[in-house]
Symmetry: C2
Subunit: 345 residues, 2 copies
DNA sequence: AACGTTTTCTTAACCGGTAAAGTCTCTATC
DNA sequence: GATAGAGACTTTACCGGTTAAGAAAACGTT
């Protein structure tokens, strides 16, 4: 990619027009002391006339601030578009960045290793002032890499996964337990969970919590399926869970996001099973989608937008030099709607 | 935001370690001729040992390529998270950028004017090599601004809105006409459209096309409602359309995106109206969502991911110096599913 | 009037690269 | 044996800002 020729106006032109030196223009534009009001005004006037604004690249190189933060997401591009979670999370991040006139550098990567390399390039190249790291896995290589680089980041994930990095996280295990307890309290004894990719740390934590709770409650049946979070995978998982004989199949299913829950809903309908009469469904994340289906979806609800806001705020804190910290955001809360009820039996 | 102190290794260190000059290192890393294989190898070795990678900021300033493209979206952050369209579009863009080791600089803005200022800052500051412009309105100020700057962009919008800019677009008017004709062919005489914001160019083009087609077909009733694309707005619009007496209300509704169609579906259910028996619904964009509802949603279907791919490819073309051009992508095609049928009457 | 302070502005070095022009060595040619 | 040309580097001048150090003018003091 080459730059196209364009008559760029630089600080020198402004200086010439205002009849001062480059340095003076720099002082004016950084609101630093050492200039009279008159010259200051003259400089701004000249800049306005020429339509000049400081070149951020040069400014960055010269060693001042960087007004970009990075976000690399390690999922296939196609799946990403379907996940309401990320877009909502990003919109929360953006709303904070915008306040700081800061932009988001976004990149999809294929592997964690690729992400490590990318973050290093970004940081070394002063492309970013810090990064938001997501989708932690157990023994995530980013923890060590980032510490080695001394790069400011916020880790979106449970502290047990993010090492000494400042983290923003939700208490997933508690939420899973609450979800299962709720279904059990309704009378369900055979409960399934359609989860995310096993490699993801938060997914495996949910898996463990589900197991623990199922044992503690002495459920008669407990299934877990790993998926890629897509609607298709959710549909497939639901179909295979529900094809068992009525006495052997789950009477309640918990999903790890809401797109899979919506898919599960239509699979139930297609199989002639009533929701919540024959099977109860419980979604996760609770985007607007859950209120748009029929029946409406009960869900473990949390404020994903607010999650993004908190992540961005925390990152700014780290960049400003705050020490490492742990920032839990509210645990998803159960929001019962039309898709959960006691089993008919 | 200030940079944290970190011992950065620069080209000078590598040069010293390899026992050559800065220039030689630069030649090696840009794969330019003029170095023996031996030195080249020695330089890479030194770089590897020191963990050095070229500083992109410096490289950019020195006047070579810029491996970032910009995308500013002018919608409230909260609404954005709910729109499957953008995330899917972005994922298409990303998939092309990734091939070129290029990142996306994303920013939400409040107004077009703010976007003009931002694009100018980005471009002047060499932050980006080009931009993808979306959400064109009539007499969009970006057209003139971008031409003045001589900045490479691809305009996602109908050529009638994007002036002389290279554009990537879908023939919305044709699609609207097809949608209405299809419903009319099914026997519907009272048809409504729940559209997007009136200020958006493509929305007003759809409005005009709907009007024209309604008149041409001499429909007995034709309504249009402008919304902000949110599910809530779609629900509200649907509710108000369907509260009229059975003989006066629409028997078919076309939506401008699929989230509103899903919302419409649940409003119909809540009002005790059968879909498609009492009212037919037709969605737009056709994300996975349309196949997950019950009944499944008929939709004007297009490949949004592919749309993003084409936009990114075209932008690379412009950056490489291709002249202005117009790149239509396939017109959305009607995909009948379970939500449309002849009116019961 | 001489002198120390401020205030205001200029100079010049630097950030970390790129690239055009220059230097030096080695080989081929007549 | 002088000359030219190619190959392998080095030098040096930017890119467009920031910033520490320096200089000139304005001011208050004694």
């Amino acid at each position: 990619m080459t730059a196209t020729p364009a008559p760029r106006v630089t600080i020198k032109d402004v200086a010439a027009r205002a009849g001062v030196s480059k340095g003076a223009v720099s002082l004016a534009f950084n609101h630093k002391p050492g200039l009279s009001e008159a010259t200051r005004e003259r400089i701004f006037e000249a800049a306005r006339e020429l339509g000049w604004a400081p070149n951020l690249t040069a400014r960055t190189l010269a060693g001042s601030r960087v007004d970009v933060v990075g976000l690399a997401i390690c999922r296939p591009a196609r799946l990403l578009g379907l996940e309401p979670f990320y877009m909502e999370f990003i919109s929360g991040v953006e709303s904070v960045l915008t306040e700081h006139s800061c932009s988001l550098l976004l990149r999809l990567v294929r592997t964690v290793e690729e992400e490590v390399a990318l973050q290093e390039t970004w940081w070394r190249g002063r492309q970013i002032g810090g990064s938001i790291l997501v989708d932690f896995r157990t023994d995530d290589p980013r923890v060590a890499a980032v510490e080695r680089l001394g790069m400011p980041v916020v880790a979106v994930g449970h502290p047990s996964l993010t090492g000494a990095l400042t983290s923003v996280w939700t208490e997933d295990a508690t939420a899973v337990t609450e979800a299962v307890r709720y279904l059990a309290a309704l009378g369900h004894r055979r409960i399934a969970r359609v989860g995310g990719a096993a490699a993801l740390g938060h997914s495996s934590m949910r898996t463990a919590a589900f197991d623990r709770t199922a044992r503690a409650l002495e459920l008669a049946g407990a299934w877990q399926v790993a998926t890629d979070y897509s609607g298709e995978a959710g549909a497939r998982a639901t179909r295979s869970l529900l094809t068992a004989a009525p006495a052997d199949r789950p009477t309640a299913i918990v999903y790890d996001n809401d797109i899979m829950a919506v898919a599960g809903l239509s699979v139930a309908a297609e199989m002639g099973l009533g929701v919540p009469d024959d099977v109860s469904l419980l979604a996760w994340d609770d985007s607007q989608l859950c209120r748009l289906t029929h029946p409406t979806l009960s869900a473990m609800s949390h404020d994903v937008h607010g999650f993004g806001v908190e992540a961005a705020r925390t990152l700014f804190g780290v960049i400003m030099g705050e020490g490492p910290g742990s920032h839990p955001v509210p645990t998803p809360v159960l929001t019962p709607r039309g898709s959960t009820a006691p089993p008919k039996v």
